[in-house]
Amino acid sequence: MANSEDILISQLKHGDRQAFRTLVDQYQGKVLNTCYGFLHNRQDAEDTAQEVFLEIFRSISSFHESSSLGTWIYRISITRSLDHLRRMKRKKRMAVLVRLIGREKGDAEEPINTENPHDQLEEKERVLILRKAVEKLADNQRIAVTLHRYQGFKYEEIAGIMDISMSAVESLLHRAKKNLQKILYNYYAKQQEI
């Protein structure tokens, strides 16, 4: 007997809009927050989540059910988010270049303002510092950390999404934690020197 996910997939493959709505209702929160975990900007996360669902609707016929529907959706979310990040980085590099050759005054990088820590909310500032540190991690460590710490995915789910073993996930998270500690230690040490 086919389960509800199989029925939903079959309806989606026939272009059923009602089934698509059910899918969006079911996954939009997690997709949005997965994108937000990488992009840290509501508007960018919403735009990327829209792109994710449009891609799902367009390419559901190529979904072969070798993994679960959820895993497939989160993979698309991660790929789209990383693509968006790369596009943004390219844009930033261009903005820096343009500024260097003096054509335009750009806002290339959002700096971490730590000049007056007392004027700012400490918590917000720490979150910002943490995000910047996560951005410095290698791609696979960043994906594992974002899925585990921001989104609360279990090791098993992360293994499915990243298509690696559970022990590989554990190792990635362990290395990510060590690297984060190192990055943050260096950051705060520098701050104390200043």
Partner: protein, 108 residues
């Protein structure tokens, strides 16, 4: 020095603990409406675009034919008059159509 190291370590731990109170986004209530509009917009233009392209091709084909006919016929008419004018000009320059005067002929 040791105190400084301890302070840094404390800051690192506090920062890593921020993972637990990360902001979670609530989905926008108009998320699906916007998504549906994008789907419709993506599906509609293909039909419209096809029709527009087909009529554009027909119009371009007719226009090319009309322009070719006009250009060719005007070329023919123009080349007829200019050729005659050109011959006349050459004849005038070479004084072919003027009465011949022999410079050695003695006057009576």
């Amino acid at each position: 020095m040791r105190k400084q190291k301890h302070q840094i370590q404390e800051a690192v731990e506090k920062t890593i603990a921020c993972f637990d109170h990360m902001e979670k986004l609530k989905p926008n209530p108009f998320f699906f409406t916007r998504l549906e509009a994008s789907l419709d917009a993506q599906q509609k233009p293909t039909g419209r675009l096809k029709g527009a392209l087909q009529s554009a091709w027909v119009i371009a084909f007719i226009l090319i034919n009309i322009v070719s006919i006009i250009v060719l016929s005007s070329d023919k008419a123009e080349s007829g008059t200019t050729r005659a004018d050109y011959l006349q000009e050459i004849a005038t320059d070479l004084t072919i159509n003027q009465p011949y005067i022999d410079p050695f002929e003695q006057e009576n």
